[in-house]
C-alpha cells in the first residue's frame, strides 16, 4: 500500500495541508511541536479509524473548529486506487470510501494497514500491561473482524457487570451479563494464544535481521486466567462475585492479560539494556508489519515517529536491509538521516504548515 496524497483540514494544529507523496520515502522535518507527529497520527487513522496515540477523536479537532477532515488517496495492492475520507466531529466519526458513506466502520478496519514506530515506544516494555494489550488487540482486531466483535462485546458486557457490582445488582442480573462475557472471553483467549504464536515467529525473524549478534528474541502471551471454554469463564466469574462486589470491579479476565517480550529466554523488561529494548520494540513493529502482510497480502506503510534519528548508522543500515517488500516509509525527525542509501522526499513542517522541500540524497 502507498499514500499518494494526504489532505487535512483543521486536524489538530494543521489548518490546511495537502501533501502529494512522491515515491516511497518521505521525511518530515522541523522543530518539535510544529505538527510532524500530528501528520503521522492523521495518516495512521486509515488503519483502525483511531489515533495511534490513543487520543479521543474530539481532541484531534483544531481548537474552536466544528470538525476535522482528512482525505487520503491510496494505492492498494488489491483495491487499486482508493479514496478514503474521514470526518471527525464532537459527536463521532464518519467515513466515506470512494464517496460512499461507510455504514459499518468495521468494514474498513484493517483494509489499509499502517504500522507505527514511535520514540515513545520505550514505554512499551516498562509501561503498564494496558499499553501492550492495546497494541496486541489492535494488531489482531485489524486482521480479524471476529476478534474485533468479541473484543467489543466483552468490554461492553464487562462495563455492564462492573456497573452492577457498584449498584448491588441481583445475582440473576449478574449472571445474565456474565454469560455475555464468557463466550467472547473464550474467543479472545484462544485467538490471543494463536496470534501470539504467529507473531512470535515474525518477531524472532525481524529481530535477527536487526540485531545479528546471537541474541534471540521471543514474545509470549501471559493470560490473566487460562480459559479453555466459555463455561469455565462463566463459572469463574460466578465464583469471583463476592470478592468483585467488595472491589466494585471485575478483578480477573482477559481485560487483565499481558504480553511479555523476552531476550535470550529472559524477560526483557528486567534484563535488556536500553539499546536492546529499543531494538526489541522496533523488531516488534516490523513483526506487526509482517503479520499484517501475511494475513492481508498488503504491505503496510511504516510511520516512523522520531525513531530513525535515534539509531546509530550501523543499526539504521540494518533497519533498511531488514524491510520486506519495499514499504512506503513516512518518517519524522529534526533532520533527515544522512547517507543511509535512501532518497527522501522532504517536507518542512513549521507552525502547522507543511511545504514540500527538495529531494535529499
Amino acid at each position: 500500500m502507498r499514500f499518494r496524497q494526504i489532505s487535512l483540514q483543521n486536524f489538530r494544529n494543521l489548518a490546511l495541508v495537502s501533501a502529494e507523496m512522491a515515491g516511497r520515502r518521505h521525511f518530515l522535518t522541523g522543530a518539535n511541536g510544529q505538527g510532524k507527529t500530528n501528520f503521522l497520527e492523521a495518516a495512521g487513522l486509515v488503519t483502525a479509524l483511531r489515533s495511534f496515540r490513543g487520543a479521543d477523536p474530539r481532541t484531534m479537532i483544531a481548537f474552536g473548529q466544528p470538525q476535522a477532515d482528512a482525505a487520503f488517496v491510496l494505492e492498494h495492492e488489491q483495491l487499486g486506487e482508493s479514496r478514503l475520507t474521514l470526518t471527525l466531529t464532537p459527536k463521532g466519526k464518519a467515513v466515506a470510501w470512494e464517496q460512499t458513506n461507510v455504514a459499518r466502520l468495521a468494514d474498513v478496519i484493517g483494509k489499509f494497514p499502517t504500522v507505527v514506530l514511535s520514540s515513545n515506544d520505550n514505554q512499551f516494555l516498562r509501561g503498564a500491561p494496558s499499553v501492550r494489550r492495546r497494541w496486541f488487540d489492535l494488531t489482531l482486531a485489524a486482521m480479524d473482524p471476529e476478534y474485533l466483535a468479541a473484543l467489543q462485546s466483552y468490554h461492553r458486557a464487562l462495563a455492564e457487570r462492573n456497573s452492577l457490582l457498584k449498584t448491588h445488582g441481583s445475582p440473576a442480573e449478574l449472571a445474565a451479563f456474565e454469560r455475555e462475557m464468557a463466550g467472547p472471553a473464550a474467543i479472545l483467549v484462544a485467538k490471543r494464544q494463536a496470534g501470539a504464536a504467529e507473531l512470535d515467529g515474525f518477531f524472532l525473524a525481524a529481530h535477527a535481521r536487526l540485531v545479528p549478534e546471537g541474541e534471540t528474541a521471543g514474545l509470549a502471551y501471559v493470560p490473566d486466567e487460562v480459559i479453555a471454554s466459555a463455561e469455565q469463564m462463566f463459572a469463574s466469574l460466578a465464583q469471583a462475585r463476592s470478592r468483585d462486589h467488595l472491589l466494585k470491579t471485575t478483578e480477573h479476565g482477559p481485560h487483565r492479560d499481558d504480553l511479555e517480550l523476552g531476550l535470550n529466554g529472559r524477560p526483557a523488561k528486567q534484563y535488556a539494556s536500553e539499546g536492546q529494548q529499543r531494538c526489541l520494540v522496533i523488531a516488534l513493529r516490523l513483526a506487526q508489519s509482517a503479520y499484517f502482510k501475511a494475513k492481508s497480502g498488503v504491505t503496510p506503510v511504516l510511520l516512523c515517529d522520531d525513531v530513525l534519528g535515534e539509531l546509530d548508522p550501523v543499526r539504521r543500515a540494518r533497519f533498511w536491509a531488514s524491510l520486506d517488500g519495499e514499504p512506503q516509509v513516512i518518517a519524522t525527525g529534526t533532520s533527515p538521516p544522512e547517507r543511509d542509501g535512501s532518497e527522501w522526499q522532504v517536507f518542512r513542517v513549521a507552525a502547522g504548515a507543511i511545504t514540500a522541500g527538495t529531494k535529499s540524497a
Binding site: 466483535a149 462485546s153 461492553r156 458486557a157 462495563a159 455492564e160 457487570r161 456497573s163 452492577l164 449498584t167 445488582g169 441481583s170 440473576a172 442480573e173 449472571a175 445474565a176 451479563f177 454469560r179 455475555e180
Partner: protein, 197 residues
C-alpha cells in the same frame, strides 16, 4: 422572537430527530406560513395525550384497557413475541410475519444506563405465562450484549416447565433490533426461531 414562539421552538427541539433549525422551520410554518393547520394539530395532540395509554396486558399503545391486538380473539394463539419497544412491534406488524400476540418490555437491561428489571415491563409477562395465556414466548430482542443478557435474565425468571421459549436468531443486523430489519428478513428470522430453553 416572542416568548410563546421561543417556548414552542424549545419544545419542538426536544423531539427526536429535530435540531435547532428544523424546530425553527416547524414553528414558523405553523405560526406564519400555514396557521390554519395549528388547530388540527393541537386537537390531535390533546386527544392523543388524553386517550392513548399502555395496554394493561402487553404494554403496546392502547386507547382502551387492551390494545387492538390483545382485544382480537383470533390472535390468542398462545404465541407471544417479546420485543423491546413499540416501534419493534410496529415493524413486525407491518411485515405480517406474526399472527400471535406481543409483549413490549419497554427497554432492555442496561445497568450502565440505570435500567434494571424494575424498569422493564416484566411482571405482567410472568402473569401471562402463569395464567396460561402465553404458552410459547418468542424472544425478538436485539442481538447485542444488552439484548442477549435480557434474554438470559428472562429465562431465569420463567418457570422451568409449561412454557416454550424460542429466540429469533439469524439474519438480524448485529447490534440492531427488529426495527432495522426489512420484512423478508423479519419473516425468515421468525421462521428460523430456535429453542432457547
Amino acid at each position: 422572537m416572542t416568548p410563546a414562539l421561543e417556548e414552542l421552538q424549545k419544545q419542538l427541539k426536544q423531539l427526536p430527530g429535530i435540531g435547532y433549525r428544523s424546530a425553527e422551520r416547524l414553528a414558523l410554518h405553523l405560526l406564519v406560513e400555514r396557521p390554519e393547520r395549528l388547530p388540527g394539530l393541537v386537537a390531535a395532540l390533546h386527544e392523543a395525550a388524553r386517550s392513548v395509554r399502555r395496554c394493561g396486558r402487553c404494554g403496546n399503545l392502547a386507547e382502551a384497557e387492551l390494545c387492538p391486538i390483545c382485544a382480537d380473539a383470533k390472535r390468542a394463539t398462545g404465541q407471544v413475541c417479546v420485543v423491546e419497544n413499540v416501534p419493534d412491534l410496529a415493524a413486525l406488524e407491518r411485515s405480517s410475519a406474526f399472527r400471535g400476540r406481543y409483549h413490549v418490555l419497554h427497554g432492555k437491561l442496561s445497568p450502565i444506563h440505570g435500567v434494571g428489571p424494575d424498569q422493564l415491563n416484566l411482571a405482567t409477562l410472568l402473569e401471562r405465562v402463569a395464567t396460561g395465556e402465553a404458552r410459547e414466548l418468542i424472544l425478538a430482542l436485539s442481538n447485542d450484549v444488552e439484548g442477549e443478557a435480557t434474554c438470559h435474565y428472562l429465562l431465569e425468571c420463567l418457570p422451568k416447565s409449561g412454557v416454550k421459549v424460542m429466540r429469533i436468531g439469524f439474519g438480524l443486523p448485529s447490534g440492531g433490533g427488529v426495527l432495522y430489519a426489512d420484512p423478508t428478513t423479519l419473516k425468515s428470522a421468525l421462521d428460523g426461531r430456535r429453542d432457547y430453553s
